[in-house]
């Protein structure tokens, strides 16, 4: 085990921090929120040019051959700046699901375009009844003469506005298991409603009313999509957790600074022991969360499938709850100013609230963990 960055990893972090400092000052972010949905095309170009979209993809498919650790380094820095570009939705969730689920020929054709940012794909898997979990899937893909007809609904599709295509999870009648399809965003019968989230980002809710796709839209084999989908989701959850580590770091820094300058009763409020202790608790929560992220990374690298997903669920629950506590207390320690739109800390809290809902809530993952644990104990 090694907690130090290699020189390459350090370079990656440095380049991201420079980007975030420049493109995501509070003022710049506020302007971006007003101007467009999910950041700007120009910024997305910077993601592509710097290789951040290809970092964790194999060289065989136009990637840099890195790993989930690179994804984590990137996501953590993006979290510090509450970056709006859809790195999580397109750069991680969709890309890693393609990597896990598509056939060799499909990977060769699609991934290089994903890696260089020219083809944007989003993952449409969650439904009102599955709440961020990969199952159950209600959306139906009925076989037609030369393809499939899709009917159903997908909620909370991250990175959907501006995406060229969606990976859609579906149930093929009489074929057990989950199947994945690649559906172009502009196909007939697909209705996309663009919806805002609390943190200022945008998603889409997709309604499939008999969308016709060709046979080759099926990714990999019929009924065999679940392992790839779970692999993509696990990568996405780890990235989201890393993002929250960055958000907590920033919240702590901003709050500690404020406690030094804000005066009440003739002294800096940081001289009150109750606030010192609270800040210490927040810092401890952050470090426990960071360690939990490391647990997830270790498990993703070393464990077999069932253990991997149990561990990742545990980290999602622990880190999301830590983030809600740390960012919520960031507001509390600021008093009234923390409640305002014009001030930074409230926006970190909003992201923490959204992150808790995304990719399955803390309660959902706690239940998933408990079920996995029960299975272990039964065996």
């Amino acid at each position: 085990m090694d907690f130090e960055f290699t020189s390459e990893q350090q370079l990656l972090q440095d380049s991201l921090r420079r980007y975030v400092d420049k493109a995501y000052s509070f003022e710049a972010r506020t302007a971006l929120l007003a101007a467009d949905k999910n950041g700007s095309a120009e910024n997305w170009g910077i993601f592509a040019d710097n290789g951040w979209l290809m970092a964790a993809l194999p060289e065989a498919y136009g990637g840099l051959g890195g790993s989930l650790v690179d994804t984590v380094i990137i996501a953590q820095e993006l979290g510090r700046g509450l970056v709006l570009e859809p790195f999580l939705g397109c750069g991680v969730l969709a890309a890693q699901t393609l990597l896990g689920a598509a056939s060799e020929a499909q990977k060769v054709r699609l991934l290089p375009q994903v890696a260089d940012g020219s083809y944007r794909v989003a993952l449409a898997y969650s439904e009102p009844g599955s709440r961020g979990m990969p199952e159950p899937v209600a959306l139906q893909a009925e076989r037609t003469g030369d393809g499939y007809r899709l009917a159903g609904r997908k909620s909370l599709v991250l990175g959907a506005p501006g995406a060229d295509a969606f990976i859609v999870s579906a149930q093929i009648p009489k074929t057990p298991g989950v199947s994945l399809f690649l559906v172009e965003a502009d196909c007939a019968g697909l209705e996309c409603q663009t919806l805002p989230l609390h943190d200022g980002s945008w998603v889409q809710e997709l309604q499939f009313d008999g969308v016709e796709v060709a046979a080759d839209a099926l990714l990999g084999e019929a009924g065999q999509g679940l392992p790839g989908l779970r692999q993509g989701l696990a990568n996405g959850i780890v990235a989201l957790c890393a993002e929250l580590i960055g958000a907590m770091e920033k919240t702590l820094e901003v709050t500690a600074d404020y406690l030094k300058v804000r005066q009440q009763f003739g002294v800096p409020i940081g001289s009150f022991q109750t606030l010192q202790h609270r800040l210490a608790d927040m810092a401890a929560e952050l470090e426990l969360a960071r360690s939990s992220l490391h647990v997830a990374l270790a498990s993703m690298a070393n464990d077999e499938e069932a253990t991997r997903y149990k561990t990742v669920s545990g980290s999602k629950m622990l880190i999301c709850r830590a983030a809600r506590f740390v960012c919520g207390q960031g507001i509390q320690l600021h008093g009234g100013i923390g409640m305002t739109e014009e001030y930074l800390v409230g926006h970190y809290y909003k992201r923490a609230v959204v992150a808790d809902v995304l990719l399955g809530s803390s309660d959902g993952h706690e239940a998933a963990c408990a079920a996995a644990l029960q299975a272990e104990l039964r065996a």
Binding site: G336, E342, K350, V353, V357
Partner: protein
């Protein structure tokens, strides 16, 4: 000690229900959920209550109030919340009103009370300043005597609903020479007076409740002083002690529980109602037990208050801490219960409907606005940290 139900309370409940059913027009019922209604609705609702003789539901009879007991008040609040009526102007009913009843001259009462009862005048609270939050006594807004006026200069902040208010009750410094608490006075100011500027502050619940309020040579008749010069601090302590039960916001807590149950029975997860999920049911069970205890605590604090027992202050602080935390956890639980839709920023209940309705809009709208606004519950009305300090000091002499 006796916990048997009080039959007369049920009679009272029927009376309130009948009023709500027969005398309240449909457009004042079934309102969108919110912590404070728009100005016009507050005014219409107040007028209607007054016509029924219920213009001041929380005040004793000798001040024109209903003289209801605490259990009656809880029933009234509950039934109004169930019917979805507008809110009243809490600033005047729960804060300024008791102050006027206790400290105002007959002339001042004659000037202000009729407008409170018939709903023609809404109030806001001008205490906090940029440099004076928890340390309220360090406030700097000055009021200098000039003939039969005070000339007010300074700035207030976090003035909730100043943009809807006709009048403001204000803490000002009338004597900068004496100990800081002793130099504070309590003034009533007409918001239309020249020299007052109100600037909006948007809060993280995506709404405009808060304001900065500036005073630039604002001339206020000396007759608008409540009590005597320098008495402002003791009046404020009187007022803030009344605030604990209000900040607990029991009717809202109960509404949150009703909504959680509704979400639990309405939404489906993996083909079954949400309430069948153990993680949801366990959480609801915990919240319900806490809510019941809070409801009892509200009544204990109120009873001690009635008896003017000083123990009500520490118990009130405990109530404030725990009830506001429960507000936060219940609204967070609502967000979680909404599943994927917990992340969606629905239009604020007071804003226009979106062109194309959002999915689940009828059930989910307003929930997140409340949840974000509830982060402030542990900040306003004396922060939780300050309340804990009060408890340690008063209860244990630490």
């Amino acid at each position: 000690m006796d916990f048997r139900p009080d039959a007369s309370l049920e009679v009272f409940r029927q009376e309130v229900r009948q009023f709500l059913r027969d005398q309240v027009p449909a457009d004042l019922k079934g309102q969108q959920r919110c912590t404070r209604s728009p100005r016009e609705q507050i005014m219409r609702w107040q007028k209607l209550l007054n016509e029924r003789g219920w213009g001041a539901p929380y005040w004793p009879k000798e001040h024109g109030g209903t003289g209801w007991t605490v259990p009656q008040i809880l029933v009234f609040d509950d039934e109004c919340s169930l019917a979805g009526t507008p809110t009243q102007d809490g600033f005047v009913h729960k804060m300024l009103g008791p102050v006027l009843n206790a400290f105002a001259t007959p002339d001042q009462k004659a000037e202000h009370l009729p407008a409170v009862f018939n709903g023609e005048r809404l109030w806001c609270q001008g205490f906090s300043e940029p440099g004076a939050g928890s340390d309220l006594a360090s406030l700097r807004t000055r009021a200098e005597r000039d003939g039969d006026c005070y000339v007010v200069n300074g700035q207030k902040i976090w003035t909730s609903y100043a943009h809807h208010a006709d009048w403001i009750f204000l803490l000002v410094r009338t004597d900068p020479q004496v100990k800081k608490q002793a130099g504070i006075s309590f003034l009533l100011v007409d918001m239309r007076t020249p020299g007052i500027t109100v600037r909006p502050i948007r809060s993280i619940d995506d709404a405009h409740h808060l304001n900065e309020t500036f005073f630039d040579n604002v001339r206020v008749p000396v007759g608008n002083l409540i009590g005597s010069e320098g008495q402002g601090w003791s009046i404020t302590k009187f007022l803030l002690n009344n605030e604990h039960a209000t900040t607990a916001d029991l009717p809202e807590l109960k509404r949150y529980m009703r909504e959680l149950r509704l979400i639990g029975t309405t939404l489906q997860v993996a083909g079954k109602p949400l309430f069948e999920r153990p993680e949801f049911a366990l959480k609801l069970a915990r919240l319900e037990a806490e809510l019941q205890a809070i409801e009892m605590l509200v009544q204990r604090v109120a009873r001690l208050d009635e008896q003017q027992n000083p123990a009500s202050h520490t118990l009130g602080s405990m109530l404030k801490i725990r009830a506001t935390e429960l507000q936060q956890r219940m609204t967070e639980a609502q967000i979680e219960a909404l599943g994927d839709y917990g992340a969606i920023a629905y239009a604020h209940p007071h804003e226009a409907d979106p062109q194309q309705p959002f999915p689940l809009q009828a059930l989910a709208r307003g929930i997140s606005n409340d949840m974000f606004l509830r982060r402030a519950s542990t900040i306003y009305g004396g922060t939780s940290e300050v309340q804990r300090g009060i408890i340690a000091k008063m209860l244990f002499q630490l």
